[in-house]
Structures are given as structure tokens and as C-alpha cells.
């Protein structure tokens, strides 16, 4: 079957099998290997991408279901050489070690900050509770999100005062 979807702002049309998972479509067909595959049961969250702005586990979404929709992956986070504040937060606060869960974590945390620009520790824990990180023990991920929240708030304030 033919599927057309927008991924990170670019429209792609590809011929695929109806059973193909979105994670495999992104990785194997489009070559966007930043999104990972980890468990098949929606427990680990290394495959999280956005579907129309909502984080979803792409190992349990058929590529066909994303047809006509907008997908955003980790490759679509940075603006050229400039990291998104959530990426910079993870860098500053050692929010990643092996880096395998990181793309999914980044997508979930970006979505959290978009909805809730000043999340508490508890809200961050809740937001990432569908995802597993074996390396960091989560504290540094929570700090990373807080770092991004604080920096986004201060740069927003700078913009306001500049105007």
C-alpha cells in the first residue's frame, strides 16, 4: 500500500506493507535511525516519536496509521547547529549515558514542557514513567528537564524585555 506522511516537516510517500510498524518505517525506509526499537510491548519507550504533536510509541503504531499525519522525531528537534533547550538540558545535566533511551526521553520531555513549561519533579517523573532508562537512575533526567524549563523561561523573559 502507499502511505504519505510528513516527517520533521518533509512529506514522504512510500510503498509499504500494511503491517509495517512506524518505528521500522522511520528507521529502515526513511533512514531516520535516531528513533530506536527496544521491547515490542510498549514498556520501554525508546521508540517514542510525536504523532500530530502527541508522544506515541512507534513500535505499536502502524506506519499506515500515520498516513496523512505529522510525525516528529529526535532528528527534528535541533534547529540546525543549535540544540533545542531540552537537548541542551540533557547535555548540561548528564541526562544521558548510553544514549539509547535518549531520543524517546527527549521527545516526551519536549512535549511535557510545551504543555507545562514549569513542571515539578513529580510531574516530570509521571511524564517519563512510560519509559525506561537503565543508565541514569532518572535524577539527572529530571534535572535536565528543569534546566530546560528554567532556561526557556529566562530566554522568554529576555525576548519580552527586548521588545
Amino acid at each position: 500500500m502507499q502511505v504519505t506522511m510528513t516527517v520533521n516537516g518533509t512529506e514522504y510517500t512510500r510503498e509499504i506493507e500494511g503491517r509495517m510498524l512506524l518505528v521500522h518505517f522511520l528507521r529502515d525506509v526513511l533512514g531516520l535511525t535516531g528513533t530506536h526499537w527496544g521491547c515490542d510491548t510498549s514498556n520501554c519507550g525508546v521508540c517514542v516519536v510525536w504523532l500530530d504533536g502527541e508522544p506515541v510509541k512507534s513500535c505499536t503504531v502502524l506506519a499506515a496509521m500515520a498516513g496523512g499525519h505529522e510525525v516528529r522525531t529526535v532528528e527534528g528537534l535541533a534547529n540546525g547547529a543549535e540544540l533545542d533547550p531540552i537537548q541542551e538540558g540533557f547535555r548540561q545535566c548528564h541526562g544521558l549515558q548510553c544514549g539509547f533511551c535518549t531520543p524517546g526521553m527527549l521527545m516526551t520531555c519536549r512535549a511535557l514542557l510545551d504543555k507545562n513549561p514549569d513542571p515539578t519533579e513529580g510531574e516530570i517523573r509521571e511524564a517519563i514513567s512510560g519509559q525506561i532508562c537503565r543508565c541514569t537512575g532518572y535524577s539527572s533526567i529530571i534535572r535536565s528537564v528543569r534546566w530546560a524549563a528554567v532556561h526557556e523561561a529566562s530566554s522568554a523573559q529576555e525576548e519580552v524585555s527586548a521588545q
Binding site: H36, T41, R91, P103, E126, R134, Y138
Partner: protein, 797 residues
């Protein structure tokens, strides 16, 4: 010694101290990983690449009567179907394990655990390969499995390893350490003896990236390139040469980015060999990537020790001796990853951090119809089991003597002046100063106030527990005189080259799986040579481009390879000094090293930087007599001893009396890993290990039903902590340098995995004190805690 609590990262500052050497430095590897530009094995795409899927046994124990592959071979996209019989013809049906046993690459005669590899399919895409698996028709004759490890040596137990000539039982090995007679003598005259049966259940490292490989055999060059999820690329290359008969120089093993290892990626798994065979058979590159269930049911498990622990003491609380009897479940093939002379790994450190009069351990290992393994799950070889044993039994002694567990430990520590300290099982602890570490943890926890709070809560019927663990680890295997894996000595090579403009490249034999080697090793070179870390490239994970060494596991990278890096930099510095003496026209004796430059003694204005020296080393003009051009060196470092990091952990739990759910409220970890290279990375390593500890103590277990079906075959059944199950970690440190390590560093990667389970279990048992509980086994799930509260605590296996 410095003792301090780690500073919390602030929300506002740039967290990079930009050190030229040791200090908090942001990681070099993050740039690619944050952008989705890491390159993991499953990201490797080669032209014409095929995909491989493995058919696994649904039974724990069964004879293979017949295999019909004809329908699978006719399935769309299928390029090859390979069975054990095919491999037998090639002499590849069996391969050596890391413990000198053999393991089936594909089963020929019978299957010996659920999930064992029976056949594989190579097809054009992953979906077609899996489709074809469904079409392979295997007829099995189901046999009685050996599931209960306690019955494995019963005379009527079915013999599992019929492939081993003359094998008439399921016995793997007996092992003993310490002095039995002396230990029994001390026990006979002791005031108090406390005994507990303690189980360390089977668990699984379960890294987020499963295992896999891409094999590309070029028949014209005769060269095999293998991208593989391996923690030990060089050791694997040599083993492939031995297994497959390929010449070693024609094998290139590449470990690209690795999504966590924790010991799971130390062994060679049949799937790696399948991909090699698949590529040779089809003439195309072949990718194998296991799914999560395959990872959990077939790759290296950890622990699975059933231990009887006994401790002897005086009535006043002086610990005299410890003895233990262990029954070890090694699964169907002995795949334990440990130095050859150490079949039980470094379990001998069960004497802990205490000054004993005697100790003895007797162990028996057996085969069962379960997956092979016995890898370290983020611990040095079997240290986790040893530390759990001693810290649990010491707590049981405190319970019996009604002494505070902190006080009991403080009373029995090996004293600083006793180091180097030889334990009653023969381990030589290099350095340690335990009391300040313990005191700092107690201070950070507010130990006395916690005990007060607990007393008040107990009076109200609330269940609050405070658990302590104090550990000494033995990491950094190891001296080649007595440590090797399959005959390969456990030394590590390192090569350093300084380019003409003063930038450098360092090549390592070890391989990061998230530990941050690209940063840490640049910092070690920077500390020694004064070249900024940003100007130093760290290459690792490719056997064609790095020196030989045994890889990253057992917290050995910093103790062994880190030492190699420091020493190779010193070799370069020595050469730089000769060149500097020529440049400054003074004798080498008249030069002082100030980080990054040599200057003339008494005349600091006359100096040359390492960068200037590098250019001169490659430039025009004469060099001093006998000095070759270039600025580079190589080394193979053989450690003289292991390093022995230690730590004091305190855990606070609350248990809901209505649901028996355990909540870890606080966790204080004070670690001493000697010299600290990058505090940020150290803290991260500790955090990760503490989370593993919560998993093992409260959630994780690979169990089996009576037919040998694995009950932990997905992440729905094998529970790993999420952000909701763990607290915000509180960490601190003391610094007791290793006397024999060039920079005084000890391993840190696994301390927290080792130290946290006993702290958590001790806290839970402490909370349950009102119920008269002295011991309860992991995992302390609500149902198991509930049983314990009702006086019905049972072992998990």
C-alpha cells in the same frame, strides 16, 4: 582524605568546568547521541543487506526428532535456512563458552532450555525472516526438565549434558576458599552464631539495546567485518578466529555505539555466529537483531545463587568468622564470564569490610534446563552476591545482638593502618579508610534523627525501615599472572599519538557502553600532557584500529585501561622532555614539567609547550641524539593488583501496611573510588547502579514454572524501575587513592549495583521488625512482603 557531599547541579549555571585534566566536564559523546546521530548496531545499513531471525525452542528439555525446512525455504524473500545439522557439517554446531564449557550454536541432538537456538532464516527483510520461522516444522520429543536447582543433583534427575562424554549427572564444579578447619574451630568457641538461608534470584541485565550483529564477509578479500553489540571486541575477535577457523587478521570486530551492556554483552551468543555463517552462506551482509523476549530468555542472566550464610561473633558484637555454602545454578551451559581460575568469580570477598579471624566458603555449581549465562549484571564477577551475603548476615547478627547495625559495622571495620589488608580468603585490599565514609553517610542521612522518627512511627503502627550496607569491591581484573579468560591475559593496550599541531588521538582496547570513555580518557591524557580534552580524540571499539585488550566489564576500564592511558601519556611526556631539552639547549635534568609545558629550572620564562614540542618532533631540523621523529607511544598495562573501592549506603523505606508496597523514600550513597576523574560521570554511574539495586531488591526476577517456561520473558513480566519507583539520589564521596594505580583511581561503574540491594533489603527487614522478621528474600514485591508480614516469608525459588 576529603569527604564531601556532591554539589547539586544548579538550574542556571553552565555545568562545564572546562578542565584541562580532571574535573566536571560535559561529555564529548553527547553531541551525536542527542541529535539521534548515534550509530548503534541496528543502525548499520549495508548495500544488499539481508536479515536474520532465529527459531527458538518452545520447550526447556526435548529431543529433536526431525526438522522440516522446506516450506520456509520456499517462503517469499528467503535466502537461506540453516539448522544444527548444516552447522555440524561445517564443524560449527558447538562453540566454546567463556568458562571452557561448550554451547550449541544451533541445537543438533536436543534442546536444553526454553529459547535455545534451533534454526535460523536469512531473508530480504526482517518481516519475511520472521514469517519463514513460522513455516519451519520441528518435531520434539519432550523430556522431563530440571527446573528446581535443589534437585539437580538428585540421583533420579535427568542428565542434561548428554553431549559431554561420560557425563552421568548435572554437576558443573565444586569450589572452595578459606580455611574450613580454622573457621569451624572459631565457630565452635563463639558466643553467638547466626544462620540464614539467603537467595540471590536470577536476574537479567536487560540493556535497553538488545544484542545483535551485522556480519559482512568478503569472499574475495577473505575478510569478515562484524558490527556487534560487544563489550569486549578484541576478545571476541580472537574467539571468532578460534571458533570459525578464520585467520585473526582477516576479522574486524566493530563495536559501534552500544546501548548499555551491564555484562549482558560480554559473552559471544549463537546469534552473532549465525550472522557470520549467514553472510558466508549468502555472500551478502546479514543483520541479526534480537527482540526483547529473545534477550530476556536466551542471553546471559546474572546471579542465581542459593546461599547458606553463618556468622560467628562475641556477645559484645565482635565478628569472628563467616562461613557459607552455596548452590549455584549455571543453566544448561556454563557460560559464566569470569577469569578461568575463578569459577565463582570474586565471590571470595564475602568477608566484606571486616577484620575476621577466619572464613570459609564451599560452593557447588549445577546444570539446569535454563538459559546459560552467569554474567555480572553491573558488578565485578560475583561481587554482588558476596556483598549481599555478608551485609545481610551482618544485619541479622545486629538483630540478634540487638545492636544498632551502624554501630556493629563501625566496631568491626578493617582499620586504615591494616592496609594493604589480606583477607582470610586471600584477597589483598589495596587501600581503604572505612569509618569516615560510614560517618559521612550517617551524617548526610541524619541517622540519629531517622532512628527517632522510626521509633515514633513504630509506636503509631507505621512501618518505616532504615537499611545500611557497607561494601568493599574487587574490580579491575586483573594481573595476568593469575587472571585470564580462555587463556587471554587480562591486560589492556593503549596507543597515543600527538599530531604535529599538538592535537592527539588515543586508542583504547576497552569500549564504552555509556560510561563516557570518550570524555574520561581524554581527561586522563589532558591531565598528564596538558593538551585540552577537546583536542584529544578517543578511538575505541574497532579491532583494526585499536590495540589488543580484554574490554569493558567488571569496572575494569579505569583501573586497567585508565592506568594504561596515564602511563602511555607519561611515555610521550618523557620523549617530549628529550625534545624540549634540545629545543631549550639545556639538559633534561634542568627541565621542570608544568602542566602543558617544560620550562628551564629557575628560569620560567624559557619554556616550550607540548604543542611546540609536537611540531618540532615532526618538523625540520635535528632532534637530540637517539631520538626518533614523531611523538607517540604505546603500552600494554598489566595491573599488579585489583582496585578495591568501597562505600556506605543508607536506605529509608516506608511500607504501606495495607498493601505491603515498599516505597524507597531516601537513598544516601557515599562512594570512595579513589582519585575522581570526572565527578559528573561518577555520579551518573552511581545513580544508575542504585536504580539497578531498587530493581533487584524490589522488582526484578527471572523465574520459571515447573515445565521450565521462562516467566520473565517480556518487560511486562520482568519489571525494571521507572522514574516512579526511585527517589532523588543523595550522593557523597570520600577519596582514598589506590596506591598501585598510576593516578590513584579505582573502578566505580558498578559499586552502586553491588551496594544498594543489601541496603534496601536491610531497610525492608528493619521496617518489618515488629513482625519478628529477621530475613526475607528478594524481590520484595508487595505479595512477598505481605507474606513476610504474616510470618510466611518463603524463598523465591
Amino acid at each position: 582524605m576529603t569527604t564531601t557531599q556532591d554539589a547539586k547541579l544548579t538550574e542556571f549555571e553552565d555545568n562545564d568546568q572546562k578542565p584541562v585534566g580532571f574535573g566536571r566536564m560535559l561529555r564529548k559523546e553527547d553531541a551525536r547521541l542527542l541529535r539521534g546521530r548515534g550509530r548503534f548496531v541496528d543502525d548499520v545499513q549495508l548495500p544488499g543487506m539481508l536479515h536474520l531471525a532465529i527459531l527458538r525452542s518452545p520447550f526447556a528439555h526435548a529431543n529433536i526428532v526431525s526438522i522440516d525446512t522446506s516450506a520456509a525455504e520456499a517462503s517469499p524473500g528467503v535466502k537461506a535456512v540453516v539448522t544444527g545439522e548444516t552447522l555440524k557439517g561445517l564443524g560449527l554446531a558447538w562453540m566454546p563458552t567463556l568458562s571452557n564449557d561448550v554451547q550449541a550454536v544451533l541445537a543438533t541432538d536436543r534442546v536444553r532450555f526454553q529459547g535455545q537456538e534451533v534454526a535460523f532464516v536469512v531473508a530480504e527483510d526482517r518481516y519475511q525472516a520472521r514469517d519463514a520461522l513460522e513455516l519451519i516444522d520441528v518435531e520434539y520429543e519432550v523430556l522431563e526438565p530440571v527446573v528446581d536447582v535443589r534437585k539437580a543433583l538428585s540421583p533420579d534427575a535427568p542428565v542434561i549434558r548428554t553431549d559431554l562424554e561420560g557425563k552421568t549427572d548435572n554437576h558443573v564444579f565444586d569450589w572452595e576458599t578459606g580455611d574450613e578447619e580454622e573457621t569451624n574451630r572459631v565457630f565452635a568457641s563463639a558466643d553467638v552464631i547466626v544462620k540464614e538461608d539467603i537467595v540471590y534470584p536470577r536476574v537479567h541485565p536487560a540493556p535497553m539495546e538488545t544484542c545483535g550483529s551485522v556480519a559482512d564477509f568478503d569472499p574475495v578479500e577473505g575478510k569478515l567485518r562484524l558490527w556487534s553489540t560487544t563489550q569486549a571486541p578484541h576478545a571476541h575477535r580472537t574467539l571468532y578466529a578460534i571458533v570459525a577457523g578464520l585467520p585473526e587478521h582477516k576479522i574486524q570486530v566493530i563495536a559501534p555505539d552500544i546501548g548499555g551492556g551491564f555484562g549482558n554483552k560480554v559473552p559471544i551468543y549463537p546469534g552473532y555466529v549465525h550472522s557470520i555463517v549467514g553472510s558466508i552462506v549468502t555472500g551478502k551482509p546479514v543483520k541479526w537483531m534480537e527482540d526483547r523476549s529473545e534477550n530476556l530468555i536466551s542471553t546471559g542472566f546474572a546471579r542465581d545463587y542459593i546461599m547458606r550464610a553463618e556468622i560467628a561473633a562475641t556477645r559484645e558484637g565482635k565478628i569472628l568468622a563467616i562461613r557459607t555454602n552455596v548452590l549455584a545454578d549455571h543453566g544448561a551451559f556454563n557460560g559464566t564470564a569470569a577469569p578461568v581460575k575463578y569459577p565463582a568469580g570474586f565471590f571470595g570477598v564475602f568477608t566484606g569490610s571486616y577484620d575476621l579471624q577466619a572464613a570459609h566458603c564451599k560452593m557447588t555449581a549445577v546444570y539446569t534446563n535454563k538459559a546459560p549465562g552467569g554474567v555480572a549484571y553491573a558488578c565485578s564477577f560475583r561481587i554482588t552476591e558476596a556483598v549481599y551475603l555478608v551485609e545481610r548476615i551482618v544485619d541479622a547478627l545486629a538483630y540478634e545482638l540487638q545492636i544498632d547495625p551502624a554501630e556493629l559495622r563501625l566496631k568491626n571495620f578493617i582499620q586504615p593502618e591494616q592496609f594493604p589488608y589480606t583477607t582470610k580468603t586471600g584477597w589483598v585490599y589495596d587501600s581503604g579508610d572505612y569509618e569516615p565514609t560510614m560517618r559521612l553517610a550517617m551524617e548526610m542521612a541524619g541517622y540519629d534523627e531517622l532512628r527517632k522518627e522510626q521509633a515514633e512511627k513504630r509506636a503509631r503502627g507505621e512501618l518505616m525501615g532504615i537499611g545500611i550496607a557497607f561494601f568493599t569491591e574487587a574490580v579491575g581484573a586483573g594481573p595476568r599472572k593469575n587472571m585470564d579468560i580462555l587463556g587471554l591475559g587480562m591486560a589492556d593496550g593503549c596507543e597515543l599519538r600527538v599530531h604535529p599541531t599538538g592535537k592527539a588521538v588515543v586508542r583504547l582496547s576497552v569500549k564504552t557502553q555509556g560510561q563516557g570513555h570518550e570524555t574520561t580518557f581524554a581527561q586522563i591524557i589532558a591531565e598528564e600532557l596538558g593538551i585540552p580534552p577537546a583536542d584529544i580524540d578517543v578511538l575505541h571499539g574497532d579491532t583494526d584500529n585499536t590495540p589488543f585488550g580484554l574490554g569493558t566489564y567488571g569496572s575494569r576500564s579505569t583501573p586497567v585501561s585508565g592506568a594504561a592511558a596515564a602511563l602511555v601519556a607519561r611515555k610521550v611526556r618523557d620523549k617530549a622532555k628529550l625534545i624540549a631539552s634540545g629545543m631549550l639547549e639545556v639538559s633534561v635534568a634542568d627541565l621542570d614539567w608544568v602542566k602543558g609545558a617544560f620550562q628551564v629550572k629557575g628560569d620560567p620564562g624559557r619554556s616550550v609547550t607540548i604543542q611546540e614540542i609536537a611540531f618540532r618532533a615532526h618538523g625540520a631540523g635535528d632532534l637530540p641524539d637517539g631520538v626518533e621523529g614523531g611523538l607517540e607511544a604505546q603500552i600494554c598495562y598489566n595491573p599488579s593488583n585489583l582496585t578495591y573501592p568501597h562505600g556506605a549506603y543508607i536506605c529509608v523505606v516506608d511500607i504501606d501496611p495495607g498493601t505491603a508496597e515498599v516505597k524507597v523514600r531516601r537513598f544516601i550513597a557515599v562512594d570512595d573510588c579513589g582519585t575522581r576523574i570526572n565527578p559528573m560521570i561518577i555520579e551518573g554511574q552511581v545513580h544508575g547502579g542504585l536504580t539497578d539495586g531498587v530493581g533487584m531488591a524490589l522488582m526484578e526476577m527471572i523465574s520459571f514454572d515447573e515445565d521450565g517456561n521462562c516467566l520473565g520473558a517480556s518487560l511486562m513480566d520482568y519489571l525494571i524501575p521507572t522514574a516512579l519507583e526511585v527517589p532523588d539520589w543523595e550522593t557523597g564521596y570520600t577519596v582514598t587513592p589506590s596506591p598501585h594505580h598510576p593516578i590513584g583511581a579505582k573502578g566505580i561503574g558498578e559499586s552502586a549495583t553491588v551496594g544498594s540491594p543489601p541496603a534496601i533489603v536491610n531497610a525492608v527487614v528493619d521496617a518489618l521488625k515488629p513482625f519478628g522478621i529477621r530475613h526475607a528474600d528478594m524481590p520484595l514485591t508487595p505479595s512477598r512482603v505481605w507474606d513476610a508480614m504474616r510470618g510466611q516469608a518463603t524463598p523465591p525459588i
